[in-house]
């Protein structure tokens, strides 16, 4: 048996209706809902077929049908191929470029949550920034040295070092030159133990400063492993009865608060990059355990220069895929436009 046009229409009608109401949908509803002019009995026959084919299922014997994961998947696939979507009112917010990336991201994720009424997340853009660009030690107080390290992608790391031995300005200058000449342009792999030992030796009594600076360098470079993630609208989870029970909701809320688990989602999205950069995880497809009963839609945005991040929307399986994908797509374009050229 295969999915002819009529079955397709009926399936879509079932799903669309279920997305709206959240209730199992019966044959009579579809009979009226579609423009097929078929009686409920005919629809029933078709529904029996669709169920046999695994696209829909019955929560219990005398209930209507709800989409199965496979049904959702079909719906999403056909829908994604279909249309380009209208622009949302998020425009003006993005019009003037925020000077602080953090503020922008928080605003975006919040607007997205308000807009969609789902839980949302966004990861700060990260790149491979693995080369040291600039190091500077400065005295800020008698016994305090400020180390500033800049790595590729203009990621800046500050560290205050307390010194015990007196340090003349001249020595400080020498240390600066020493560090810069040896470490500039180096990647994490290139800075090996031998090199560190050599540096320490040259620094003599101030070798501990070298140690601390190198620690800071390491931290700055690997900082993107725990990438920053902002969330919003977690409370929207409670709006959907199928997610709102104590157990599931609790886990989800925790996931959103801890953020740790969300990085998996980000990494998965970034790694497996298809043409559009928009991905839909339905039920078990998700890489995050606590979202097994949800659907997750993610989008990759690209600010050029290898700086990429992920936006995600998490909701019930009966999520309004159409709207969500559309919203994400426009948002994606906005971000790309805004930062892309720079």
């Amino acid at each position: 048996m295969q999915l002819d046009e009529r079955k397709t229409k009926i399936l879509q009608a079932i799903i669309r209706n279920y997305l709206e109401t959240g209730e199992p949908v019966g044959s009579r509803t579809i009979s009226k809902y579609t423009d097929l002019n078929l009686s409920s009995a005919t629809i029933r026959n078709e529904m029996a077929d669709l169920e046999e084919m695994g696209y829909i299922l019955q929560p219990h014997a005398s209930a209507g049908r709800i989409p199965s994961d496979r049904g959702y998947r079909f719906y999403v696939d056909t829908m994604m191929a279909e249309k380009e979507r209208e622009v949302v009112e998020m425009k003006e917010m993005l019009l003037e470029r925020q000077d602080k990336m953090e503020t922008l991201l928080k605003k975006v994720v919040k607007a997205l949550a308000n807009n969609t009424q789902y839980a949302t997340m966004i990861s700060a853009p990260s790149t491979h920034r693995n080369k040291v660009k600039f190091i500077q030690l400065s005295r800020v107080e008698e016994n305090q040295i400020l180390a500033v390290i800049v790595v590729e992608g203009n990621v800046i790391k500050n560290k205050i070092l307390s010194i015990t031995e007196p340090l003349t300005d001249e020595t400080l200058l020498k240390l600066n030159i020493l560090l810069n000449t040896h470490l500039n342009g180096m990647s994490l792999e290139e800075i090996n133990l031998g090199m560190i030992a050599a540096l320490k030796q040259q620094a003599g009594i101030h070798s501990n400063i070298v140690s601390e600076v190198i620690d800071a360098v390491a931290e700055a470079i690997k900082a993107d492993e725990d990438l920053e993630i902002y969330t919003s609208g977690t409370n929207n989870i409670l709006k959907y009865p199928e997610l709102a029970d104590q157990e599931k909701a609790s886990e989800l809320i925790n996931t959103f608060e801890e953020k740790q688990q969300l990085t998996e989602l980000v990494l998965d999205t970034l790694s497996d990059d298809n043409n559009t950069g928009i991905q839909v995880y339905i039920g078990d497809e998700t890489p995050v355990e606590s979202m097994k009963d949800c659907s997750v839609v993610t989008a990759t945005y690209d600010l050029g220069d290898g700086m990429r991040g992920t936006i995600g929307i998490i909701g019930p399986k009966r999520m309004d895929y159409d709207k969500v994908v559309g919203t994400l797509r426009t948002l994606q374009n906005r971000l790309d436009d805004l930062y892309g050229e720079n």
Copy 2:
């Protein structure tokens, strides 16, 4: 009528019992629960008195009694005065001083949530840090200048400036000297328009750099207005039926995610500093709207040097005040010890 010893004992018994069970408690229970050897009838009489006095109330005519806000208040006041508490197993976690404050705070707030099974928050220590300590401009690339600003309390602000006009190293040095001689030691109030104009004039063609630096200074100084707050265990809210309904839980979760509203709590706690630094807000007493049905216990911790922060525990009114206050107190001491001397 006044609260004699017997009434006090009965009231405490009622509250303690209610804290455990979450159910209204009846006279017979108390009759057995206490060591007073009184019949349920006598207890009933006393309970009638206590109700008249406003310490307890009946959810409905034939139910047991639950504590009123006033009852909780009484309980907390007597309890706080009473005892010094046993030490919790949070010790080892704090033993070695974390190099990153952020990591420490996240660990603390998480441990606290696990420990108490309530929702918890902690604010990063902030001080009045309102004086500029150090400014430095450095070239990191041909057309990019890094501005580093350090203000009191070692709060560091970085800003990358893109320049259009060429800038010699010599000019850069001059700018550095210019900025430092004029701005070092200055507070936000002291940096006025006239001064800024003068600086700009001296900077000549590079006046825009001065502008940007001053913007950054302003940001660094006022950064403590939106102080950083970490939360954990938000999902614990759902554990308490009296908070778990869609409406309330949703607002609470939102408060914890947004964090904005939590600053009110922090500020209130920090401002109104009593002897111990531990405060209990019951029901309406809280400064945060969404917590009207909760109790909130906050503690101030002090790292010396004017660096102070707030820890908070948010739970149902029938919170285990005893344990919570005890835990907070020891935690407070730990933090003070750990960072105090430095």
